[in-house]
Amino acid sequence: MTENAVFKANRVANAEVTAWLPDHAVIVENGRISDVVSQSSIADGIPNTHEVHDLGDVSLLPGLIEAHAHMHTAAGPDPLYTQQSAFNDSKEFFIMRAVDHIRTTLLSGVTTMRDLGGPSDVVFPVRDAVRAGVIPGPRLQLAGAPITTTAGHCWFFGSEADTAEEVVRAIREQVKLGADLIKIMSTGGMFTPTANPRSAQYPVETLRAAVVEAERLNVQIVSHCLAADGVRNCVEAGIHTLIHARWHDSDFRKGLAYDPDVAQMAADKGIWADPTTGHIMIGDVRISAGDVPPRVPHWAVSAATVPEEEHDAVLRDMRERGVRFVTGLDMGMAHGEFDMSAANAWSFVELLGFSNWEAMAASTVDTAESLRLASETGAIKAGLSADLMAVSGDPSNDIKDLFNCTDVVVEGRLVKRDGRALV
């Protein structure tokens, strides 16, 4: 049950997430935003019908949208532990981790979380429990088990499918189990020693069959791609979002093989990218501070490690051509802790040249659009779900203030107030 409520704040993000409305209030009725008004124009009688929360000197934003999580894996500074626990732990452990992780994410200000790959006997029951009110969590959009080749990237929690026919069947199975979207691994990845991040896992025809089937069933399809060959296949096949969008050359001795024409094609087709720069930047910060040892490179990329600056330059060029970015941290991987979604916006400002407001919009209204949730969440405007987060300070001045979450409202329900968890 959600009460009718009013949330007053010194700074409230406007509907476009481009500027503050000073001393405004968000009026919530039946879990949805009914109005956003100046505090001075609130009707006198409103405390009789609404619970009034004066949040004070905070910046009130739409709840953050995290576009890329693996709720069942153990994030942390030790990549070996993350990997081995994902290999070895029981389903019960995955469920328990997931319950703990999604609560942490919610309390950090994330009100919508897209999981891009987890065991289907873990993530779907967890979502059901959130919806039933048994456990606290953000709104969850789930891919279920990612589709990958035998021994391919994330096979240990994926659905292995090698031929076009098998891929189509695997998509149907995930949709039957409750998937909101499809994740397919178009190349190998760093997390999986038996996969090759420099080479494609599927030909373009197979990816195209996957896109056709996903669209027939009215779900999005996003694809992991670390290799230039994989990016090209995805763009040609019409995959909806490129995850990572790294352009590794297929030659082990070379770095990136960026192709601006393919990037332009992605922009022209309206394909989104999830650059996952947040967790990479957090890792770099920790490594350069000496807090953790340097990364151990995957065997396929160890001969020619690509400087992050080079990759960031590619991402900036993609953006200039019109590719739009979603805020996906890759939560659950090393340095992708579940309370670190704000690192997405931080890295967009720090590395990719976003303004603070552009980064905040990316974390909210833009990613909502990409997730096809723009009519439900991602902005503070009448008619949308009351998904709100407040931070102390002013992230339009210092984007890192996004980490200082004080209050969280999800679907009209106050779950954190003045830094204290209520769930």
Binding site: E92, M96, D100, P125, R420, A421
Partner: protein, 418 residues
């Protein structure tokens, strides 16, 4: 990971939990154990130790909760949920319940009846640091008759041989304690709380087998006949112990001589009286009455009757553990303080006696008093603090300020880190 630390507080319970040490400090070593409890003014070299100024609080050993069912929803839907939900859903409930208990100040918790598939993985996850929670001592599934009390999360065993085999199975799965249902119970409509479920010989066989395997047996018993069987069998602890008459038109059939035998043989009793206080408070605030079991509907013991009997048992020397029966309606996982509150308000304990019951005394019953339950050198640094002085007002125990498990703070100044 624990690190050397100092926790300073205005009031720290002495090692017997019967008085305050004022302006003292608990010094914690690198292994998360209490190195010393000394006056703050005598702290010498504090370098290399993180110092926590807890301030004007009452610092106690972490509470010990002797009776939980971690996978049950503590509301009126509990029975409907337990009979329809998946194990996965119950695991998810248990994750939230364990955090809630720990943040309320419970650092050791005995779960005496949850599904094996749920509760043993939960303990493994807590011990591995995957999720936060108290130290758990577990029965796993209770042993009951077919259709008997709590069959829906129990292991059914009807004969003596079956019971012995199930004791062995529970030990194999990791049980630290055996729970057996000596009579029916109110939670289970297909059981009869006024009647026994096992003869004394079968209970005796369970006790012998458990002792052979190095653990102890607690038995649920509402019925006087069930209590008598437990006494004859040498059951180590009796849960509820309500002395219900076998005649459905007669509420109770208290046997003072039986009570004296419990005292003589050192049989502990978990009176679960905190649950009654919580239920009464909830109903006073407008909550509906719990569903009445058919077996007791015609003649329920009045609260006064029950309390009079429990007081008499205590006068005869029976010792009580602080078990709330968490998971039953209104017995939420953050309400362990209601054990001590009910002991003071209903049973006539002094506040210090109730504090000791919730800590060192119940630690003794759980056979863990060598490691927890008292703040003294060598013990695990499990602590909780409350604002105010619970030796003056026991209700101060209900809201924790700080919680430390194994020397690691999980809550400070009311703010949780987990």
């Amino acid at each position: 990971m624990p690190e050397p630390a100092i926790f300073k507080a205005s009031r720290i319970a002495n090692q017997d939990n019967d008085g305050w040490l004022t302006d003292h400090a608990v010094v914690v070593d690198v292994g998360g154990r209490v190195e010393a409890v000394i006056p703050s003014s005598t702290l010498a070299d504090t370098s290399g130790k993180k110092t926590y100024e807890l301030g004007d609080v009452s610092l106690l050993p972490g509470l010990i909760e002797a009776h939980s069912h971690l996978h049950v929803s503590p509301d009126l839907d509990g029975f409907a949920n337990i009979t329809t939900e998946t194990n996965d859903r119950m695991v998810m409930r248990a994750v939230g319940a364990a955090r809630k208990a720990l943040l309320s100040g419970v650092t050791t918790m005995r779960d005496i009846g949850s599904r094996n598939e749920v509760i043993f993985p939960v303990r493994d996850a807590i011990e591995s640091g995957v999720i936060p929670g108290p130290r758990l001592q577990l029965a796993g599934t209770p042993i009951t008759t077919t259709a008997g009390h709590c069959w829906m999360f129990g292991t059914e065993a009807d004969t003596l041989e079956d019971v012995v085999r199930v004791v062995r199975q529970q030990v194999k799965l990791g049980a630290n304690v055996i729970k057996i249902m000596a009579s029916g119970g109110n939670f289970t409509p297909t059981s009869n709380p006024r009647m026994t479920q096992y003869p004394a010989e079968t209970l005796r066989a369970a006790v012998v087998e458990a002792e052979r395997l190095g653990i102890y047996v607690v038995a649920h018993a509402h019925a006087t006949a069930g209590i008598r069987n437990c006494i004859d069998a040498g059951i180590h602890q009796i849960i509820h112990c309500r002395w219900l008459s076998s005649d459905p038109t007669v509420a109770m059939d208290y046997d003072p001589e039986g009570a004296a035998r419990l005292a003589d043989e050192g049989t502990w009793v978990d009176p679960t009286i905190g649950l009654s206080v919580l239920g009464a408070e909830a109903r006073a605030a407008g909550a509906p009455q719990r569903r009445l079991h058919w077996g007791v509907a015609a003649a329920r013991p009045s609260p006064e009757q029950t309390i009079e009997v429990l007081k008499d048992m205590r006068d005869k020397g029976v010792r009580y553990t602080t078990g709330l029966d968490m998971g039953m309606a209104y017995a939420d996982y953050d309400k362990s303080a209601y054990n001590a509150i009910s002991f003071v308000e209903s049973l006539g304990y002094t506040p210090w006696e109730a504090i000791a019951a919730s800590t060192s005394v119940t630690a003794e019953a759980l056979r863990v008093n060598g490691t927890v339950g008292s703040l003294q050198s060598g013990m695990i640094a499990d602590m909780m603090s409350v604002a105010g002085d619970p030796s003056k007002d026991i209700r101060a125990l209900a809201i924790s300020s700080d919680v430390v498990k194994g020397g690691v703070p999980v809550k400070l100044g009311g703010r949780a880190f987990i």
